[in-house]
């Protein structure tokens, strides 16, 4: 098989599947949203979502279009190391829940920035909010690229037309919906994503002669010998332990993602939030494993079955496999599934942008604003965020996952340290927070290949582009600055007089569930010192040669 233009020969099938999916989402969104009139309803659905719905919604928000299109492309490019990279991303919701999610839920926070404002004050929260908007935009960018690719495959139209048509339809949907619609829809989307990804994968495996087609996520061992014969290095780890250590930066990054943490605040109770975490782990593990299988099958197809995929089409691997091995109507359903995956993540991202701009920046600077104006402002921010992500996607990076993972790293540098240290260490203050966010964020942006292509840490384009190397340097610096600057400024009378230590201590005790303030709690200097020493070692290691 030679290289060809991959598209549906009957576009009506694809259009029909997409319209049917959208009608379903609009109906669910409309029914769920009739009650959504307040700001709380818009962003956290009145904190009323049950554990199974919330677990499904968490998984759906997190999974994104990358699951359908992006991951398989990079498995094709990097093979097993990329699978190993993706595995640890399951840690996001469990770690958010145990480290700070339940505390912020107890506080009644709208968003992580809300916590940062209460904990570190106005300036720090506005800086954090601006970085979070950039994170959400970069994350949305990846989704927009995928949506454009999906529309391109359905209609056989150019990428640019697909981007504008698909982008506007989806931005319109999210602007008209709210978090309640998004949560219920996200749960339905999750079921659709799972079915439309795993069932067609089983059919592809069956067409290839695989015997484990009835449970694709784990049963493809019979294809391993042929794979090893055709591509002996498929299972090689390729990179040094340092590369695998740098993956933990993505885990920390996932702890700073605003749209993900917001899912915990939609839980009806702390117990419900924890149960949702268990559902999340089960579902996301299932779909992630199926994605690795799809990547494996994709490489298998190119190496043993003669399916030729040009580098420009790598992000379409899942769709191409369906076009080659399944009937067209199945591909149409897979495209609808991919679009719904992008839709749910974009909903989360754009709602986070709306909340950040209207709640965390404008309302803070202008507290007298009427509630109705704030809600309107939220809708305007959601729409504008969508339009910006469409504009950014006009000239996209080579792989859609790259911008998403880069966003993880930025969140890990600018937000996660502020939240984690802020929840667990009373001494953390606004001077440390501002230094960590601004300097850490600036270093991360400077060493990324997007701003100064010559200033990079490894020279390995995907590793630098995904922010792995930058995060391994900037996240430790951010933690060190937060701790050291806070510790020093707390001991400078002129500066410490500008702090609200008493209120901060009371806040920390309260969000952990305590009714009193005890000086011995959340105040360990030894713990802070160990953290500084540990991260100094990692930062020094990050600037040493990577030999890639």
């Amino acid at each position: 098989m030679g290289e060809e233009a991959w598209q549906l020969s009957n576009p009506m099938l694809g259009i029909g599947a997409i319209i049917a999916t959208f009608v379903l989402f609009y109906v669910v969104g409309y029914i769920s949203n009739r009650k959504s009139s307040s700001v709380t309803d818009l962003y956290v659905a009145g904190s009323s979502i049950g554990p199974l719905t919330n677990g499904l919604a968490m998984a759906s928000t997190y999974m994104s279009l990358a699951t359908f299109l992006g991951i398989t492309a990079l498995i094709l490019q990097l093979q097993v190391p990329f699978i190993m990279l993706w595995i640890q991303l399951i840690l996001s919701i469990p770690l958010i829940t145990i480290i700070y999610g339940t505390s912020l839920r107890r506080m009644g926070a709208f968003s992580p920035t809300h916590f940062i404002r209460e904990r570190y004050g106005l300036s720090a929260s506005i800086i954090a909010a601006l970085f979070m908007i950039l994170v959400s935009l970069m994350y949305s960018l990846g989704q927009m690229i995928g949506i454009a690719l999906a529309f391109e495959t359905v209609l056989g139209i150019p990428y640019m037309t697909g981007l504008i048509v698909g982008g506007l339809v989806i931005v319109g949907y999210v602007t008209l919906g709210g978090m309640a619609g998004a949560s219920n829809n996200a749960a339905i989307q999750m079921v659709i994503i799972a079915l439309m990804f795993i069932v067609p994968l089983g059919a592809i495996m069956k067409a290839m002669g695989g015997s484990g087609w009835f449970f694709p996520p784990l049963l493809y061992a019979d294809m391993v010998p042929a794979m090893v014969e055709a591509m002996p290095n498929f299972f090689d780890y390729q990179f040094s332990p340092k590369w695998y250590v740098s993956l933990i930066g993505l885990t920390i990054g996932s702890l700073g993602l605003p749209h993900l943490a917001m899912r915990i605040y939609t839980a009806s109770s702390l117990k419900s939030a924890r149960t949702a975490m268990v559902w999340f782990a089960f579902i996301i593990g299932l779909v992630f494993s199926a994605t690795y299988a799809m990547g494996f099958v994709g490489v298998y197809a190119t190496e043993t079955q003669g399916v030729a995929i040009s580098p420009a089409d790598a992000d379409k691997l899942t769709l191409i496999l369906n076009l080659v091995y399944n009937p067209e109507w199945v591909t149409a359903l897979v495209i609808a599934g991919a679009i719904s995956a992008g839709l749910s993540t974009l909903s989360g991202n754009l709602l986070a942008i709306g909340a950040l701009l209207s709640q965390d920046i404008v309302s803070v600077l202008k507290p007298d604003l009427k509630v109705r104006t704030r809600v309107k402002l939220g809708y305007a921010a959601i729409f504008t965020g969508g339009i910006i992500s469409i504009l950014l996607a006009i000239n996209p990076p080579a792989f859609l996952v790259v911008s998403i993972l880069w966003a993880f790293g930025l969140a890990g540098v600018t937000n996660a340290p502020l939240i984690i240290v802020g929840v667990w260490w009373k001494e953390a203050n606004k001077f440390g927070a501002i230094a960590a966010s601004v300097i850490g964020g600036a270093i991360y942006i400077v060493v990324s290949p997007f701003v100064f292509p010559s200033i990079v840490l490894t020279g390995h384009s995907v590793t630098d582009g995904m922010g792995l190397s930058g995060a391994m340097l900037a996240i430790p610096i951010s933690f060190i600055l937060l701790i050291v600057v806070s510790y020093l400024t707390n001991r400078m009378p002129k500066l410490s007089a500008m702090l609200t230590a008493k209120e901060d201590h009371a806040l920390i005790e309260r969000i952990h569930g305590w009714k009193d303030v005890h000086p011995g709690r959340y105040n360990s200097t030894i713990g802070a010192a160990i953290t500084v020493v540990f991260f100094t070692v990692i930062a020094v290691w990050a600037v040493m040669p990577w030999n890639m």
Partner: protein, 99 residues
Amino acid sequence: MKAYKMEVRFTILLTALFLLAGNVALVFSIFPVQGNLFGFPIMYIVPILSGWFGILFLTIVANKVGNRIDEEIERENGLLTSAETETGKQKKSHSKEGA
């Protein structure tokens, strides 16, 4: 302070276990192993299984432990409230005796 110590210890321990279960590939990159399991290379399938079922198991543990810590904090809060009430009553009776 018992509930506080329990909260800090379990958060650190569970975070470490979660990181380990999700990063088995890091361990294998330092200590490579040969051989197959369920028809796959061990260094391929073990990180995948641990990254799904290992994490699922830990979320169940974290769920139970988190709820227990909440109850323990509530219990200590309750003790604090009753101790304050008791002190209040004693102060009242002392002032009555004084009068």
